[in-house]
Subunit: 151 residues, 2 copies
Amino acid sequence: MKKYVSALVVAAATLSATSAMAQFAKPEDAVKYRQSALFVMQQNVGRIAAMVQGKAPFDAKVAADSAAVAEYMAKLPWAAFVPGSDKAGNTKAKAEVWSDAAKFNAAADKMQAEMAKLNAAAKTGSLDAIKPAMGAVGGTCKGCHDDFRAQ
Amino acid sequence: MKKYVSALVVAAATLSATSAMAQFAKPEDAVKYRQSALFVMQQNVGRIAAMVQGKAPFDAKVAADSAAVAEYMAKLPWAAFVPGSDKAGNTKAKAEVWSDAAKFNAAADKMQAEMAKLNAAAKTGSLDAIKPAMGAVGGTCKGCHDDFRAQ
């Protein structure tokens, strides 16, 4: 029951954050919006990845702050994949984003769920807790890029 | 006293959100990061501005959701104005961002404070409450662009 309620809360929070994004003046703005949100997210995730990989010294506070921003940013891009933005701007989105929307949405949900777990792990201040969560996040990034982003 | 404590809380929250951003692999990433955060913020503010100007129908939920995202995004750009990023990428930042950092930081703080007020106003669901808050936010955008961004 607790898990069920948590899922509802997460769904409501996601809906709340994304419903605000449904309108763009032009398709190029939608492309730039999702790319901007993903870039800010990626920079924060990358900072934690560098610690996990030993390329940067572990800083528990920076990791926790970065994970919090990454989790928030992870909610924003999806509502910007609006119809008509499939060929706009410099998008790399494949047609499958729209033609297989159910799979795409599931991948987006999965990424957000793993990002929430990374944030929870980062809050513990333990690099050992962060490592597997970071691996799971990285897996969702790669999976979605493989299936839905042109190289 | 209450006001003083509130100011401390805001300062701590800002510091927490921005301290995670202090590191970038290269100056171009810092430029792209601050521009990305500002673009996501601007799109959300613009959605509310359109309602205030009568260019879009007032939707209290969209306004509230947009204001919440805008307030969050408003915290992120500042730590990306790192030394060495003054001429990187396609930045339009003037030298005064760094040479008059105290004034720039005050402008950034003022914008965040007005954005928090806009978020509070949007939460009331009243367009009449949103209008003056939106005007104040717009003023901080323009003021900072006039002083610190090349045209």
